[in-house]
């Protein structure tokens, strides 16, 4: 009988050890994957840390893990969507014009240029969220990637409160194939 009690005690002890090994348990359920080197994207979310490599100039650090302030001029490089060199593509810039900007500059506007092709500007006289959308002709696409230069009509120059030149707030920029 004694041996059976010992067996039961051993059984319970082993189960307890297993239960107490919870932290090791979590390590056993985590694996890694072999990821590709970062690819150039046709659509960039400002929240995505991998977007950094494609933001060439004029973007300030990401805020609230969602958006970035821009300067008066800002540039990105995007992957050319498949077939864009034949059918063209659509450029989309998801932006927000803050109250503070409108109060100071009254109105602003955004325009873009790709490979010497100028896209029509759009003006904003009220604060709010906008999507700057323009059709891009096929001739603007010559390679696997395309540099896009944005320019703002008006912006907030560096001041005592913020030493940065501030334009608009951007959350997404991308090219969509047609």
């Amino acid at each position: 009988m004694a041996i059976r009690f010992r067996t039961v005690a051993l059984f319970i002890a082993l189960v307890a050890v297993v239960c107490l090994s919870d932290c090791k348990s979590r390590n056993r359920t985590r694996v890694q994957t072999d990821e590709e080197p970062p690819r150039m994207a046709a659509v960039l979310s400002m929240a995505d840390p991998r977007a950094n490599a494609q933001l060439l100039s004029g973007f300030y650090p990401v805020e609230q893990n969602a958006w970035r302030w821009t300067a008066s001029k800002f540039s990105v490089i995007l992957r050319t969507p498949r077939g864009a060199d034949q059918k063209g593509a659509t450029l989309k810039l998801k932006l927000s014009v803050p109250d503070s900007v409108i109060q100071q500059v009254k109105s602003t506007g955004v325009s873009a240029a790709l490979n010497g092709v100028d896209l029509a500007p759009e003006s904003y006289t009220q604060s709010g969220e906008y999507i700057y959308t323009r059709d891009v002709p096929a001739r603007a696409f010559a390679g696997d990637s395309v540099k896009i230069d944005f320019a703002l009509q008006k912006f907030m120059p560096p001041g005592p409160v913020d030493a940065r030149e501030l334009g608009v707030v951007v959350s997404m920029v991308g090219l969509e194939g047609k």
Binding site: L14, V18, S21, R28, T33, E36
Partner: protein
């Protein structure tokens, strides 16, 4: 016994078991395990818990302790860490080995027989599956309930104390939650009384247990009726003795023996004849000497195997896990007696035991290793996809390079849905590398059509992975290049309205996605490739809830490219519904057709501003 001898007596069998099935401790989840793991996600209140534990599931089984409860409990503590599950299976088996040893000693009063029986049982290749696959824990747990109940019955027979009887009764009742074979326990106990004890009063004490077995049989039959067709259908026909002979042979000669490299068929047959013959001759010889103990263990084999014999089309060697301990016990008693007999008898008996071990031990080791290796691939895939989802939130995961093995052991059991990882699909090229298996989910359930895969890649909505030697590898760029270099395949002829990657095929009149389906308003349109042959039909899958029918039956008008196809009437709730309709000949061969679905009435659920028609899932031409 001296303390050291006593320690060895109890410890050698579990240590042997641990040595033999060591890889079984490290095996990860596979196949049916994912259905049990998914239960935890379905439980939100006490009612759900009761349903999850007791509602008949796979093949009409109700096994709350060995399957549902086991997985639910361990998942709540350890989630996807398989080691604690495996440790628990091994611990239960160690208890079984101790109980079997105790049982053989009680009946034979031979320490050597009690020592050898668990060793021979452990070596039996029928234990490969239960010691390697968590879903077959039911065999191990059922063995525990049978052995424990019978041990207390023996105590009751010896001491006459009612406490032992009621403990036996309680264990017997609990045993129904492990495996249906528990129903035969009263017959095992009765066989003991008839063959060994022979007290009528003891036999009568088993009457309530027989009554419980009968009640369980009818209860189980009412709530989980037997299947009329398929591998789990019962057949009471002349195949029964053939099945019995097959199991009898597998008890000695592993089922996998013919697959062993360099095996000599004649040697296997001779070894089988010698071992099976020795067990039978010894049993008969002892019975003639009025010692029916081997006969009792033969009864154990037959009684525990009997319920499985009608499963003519589903013969599995692991079904022998519980019966095999009867034959192992006969052999152990035989060896024990042979050691006290002439040298010739002792040597020939030990030689037979050695042959048995030579045949079974390598199979057990390679079998458990096979399960381990298979589960490693499943682990890499499932946990890799989980990691990929963390790295690429919001993107779908497309899997390429999935072979038959990973499909049958993982994908076909929907592991990602079970673990709450949505939007995981098989890349279209898998269709040629995976063969369809009867009894498993249809491959098309998991495949993303080529056109949808191309669109998803172009729109950067998907990451593509393939299983590597140790990790899942992201191959999105290479796969994109390969797929986009191929000529466009045209619109798919199977549209999953509930799949966001196929949203571009969904026209006007639909609401936002809801977990694998989509509601339409009064009218909704879908675009897809047209039929390629006159015989092809269109199949609709959807949901018609009872709320939609409160004002009476509704009608669904199906139109293809403006040609009315059918008017479907729904008078009863159908969740889901399936309809197959004939297509108009005018759309034959068209690259793009428009399917229009229109109901004659919508309804507004309480607190929901939408006007809902019907919900749809897959629309397919085949």
């Amino acid at each position: 016994m001296k303390p050291a001898v006593r320690a060895a007596y109890w410890l050698v069998p579990p240590v042997f078991c641990l040595w033999l099935y060591w890889q079984g401790l490290k095996v990860w989840f596979q196949a049916d395990d994912f259905a049990w793991l998914s239960l935890a996600r379905q439980i939100h209140n006490g009612k759900h818990l009761l349903q999850a534990l007791f509602e008949p599931m796979a093949q009409g089984t109700i096994r709350p302790w060995s399957e549902r409860g086991f997985f639910l409990l361990f998942y709540s503590f350890f989630e996807l860490d398989a080691l604690p599950y495996r440790v628990f299976v091994f611990l239960t088996q160690f208890l079984n080995l101790a109980l079997l040893s105790h049982l053989v000693w009680r009946l034979s009063r031979s320490r050597s027989a009690a020592f050898v029986a668990p060793l021979l049982w452990t070596a039996n290749s029928s234990l490969i599956v239960p010691m390697s696959w968590s879903s077959s824990y039911n065999q191990i747990l059922c063995a525990f309930f049978l052995l424990a109940a019978f041990s207390f019955f023996l105590r009751f027979a010896e001491r006459g104390q009612l406490t032992d009887y009621f403990i036996q009764l309680s264990i017997f009742i609990l045993g129904f939650g492990a495996l249906e074979i528990n129903v035969v326990y009263p017959a095992i106990a009765a066989a003991y009384v008839v063959l060994i004890d022979r007290r009528r009063r003891l036999l009568l004490s088993l009457a309530p247990l027989f009554a419980l077995s009968v009640i369980f049989f009818f209860f189980h039959h009412a709530f989980a009726p037997g299947l009329a067709s398929g591998p789990y259908a019962l057949h009471f026909d002349p195949a029964l003795p053939v099945t019995l002979l097959k199991y009898w042979a597998w008890t000695f000669l592993p089922m996998q023996w013919p697959d062993r490299a360099g095996h000599i068929p004649l040697l296997g047959r001779l070894a089988l004849l010698a071992m099976a013959g020795a067990v039978l001759v010894f049993t008969i010889w002892k019975a003639k000497q009025r010692n029916c103990m081997p006969l009792f263990f033969l009864s154990w084999f037959l009684i525990t195997l009997a319920p499985l014999l009608p499963l003519r089309d589903h013969i599995s060697d692991y079904y022998l896990a519980i019966p095999a301990m009867g034959i192992a016990s006969i052999a152990a008693i035989g060896i024990s007696e042979a050691l006290n007999s002439s040298r010739t008898v002792a040597i020939s008996t030990l030689a037979l035991a050695a042959v048995y071990l030579w045949l079974n031990v390598p199979e057990a080791r390679s079998g458990v290793n096979w399960y381990f290796e298979r589960s490693r691939g499943v682990r890499t895939l499932v946990l890799g996809v989980q990691r990929a989802r963390e790295l690429h939130p919001g993107k779908a995961i497309l899997l390429t390079g999935i072979g038959d093995a990973l499909y049958t052991s993982a994908i076909a059991h929907s592991p990602f849905a079970a673990l709450g990882i949505p939007d995981v699909y098989l890349a279209p090229d898998n269709e040629s590398s995976i063969t369809s298996h009867p009894g498993l989910n249809d491959l098309s359930m998991y495949l993303l059509p080529t056109d949808s895969a191309r669109k998803a890649l172009e729109d950067e909505q998907v990451e593509v992975y393939t299983p590597g030697p140790t990790r899942l590898q992201n191959v999105t760029s290479a796969y994109e290049k390969k797929l986009l270099a191929q000529p466009p395949p045209g619109l798919p002829r199977r549209v999953d309205v509930g799949n966001r990657l196929e949203s571009y095929l969904v026209g006007e009149g639909w609401y936002a996605l809801e977990g694998g389906y989509r509601w339409m308003s009064r009218r909704g349109t879908v675009y897809m490739g047209g039929p390629r042959a006159r015989s092809e039909q269109i199949a609709l899958t959807g949901y018609c809830p009872k709320e939609q029918l409160r004002s009476g039956p509704i009608h669904l008008q199906v139109t293809v490219d403006g040609h009315p196809v059918d008017l479907i009437r729904f008078s009863d709730p159908e969740t889901p519904f399936h309809r197959i309709l004939t297509l108009p000949p005018q759309v034959l061969g068209k690259e793009r057709i428009e399917i229009s679905l229109e109901v004659n009435r919508t309804f507004q659920p309480q607190g929901d501003g939408r006007s809902l028609g019907l919900a749809f899932g897959i629309i397919e031409i085949h």
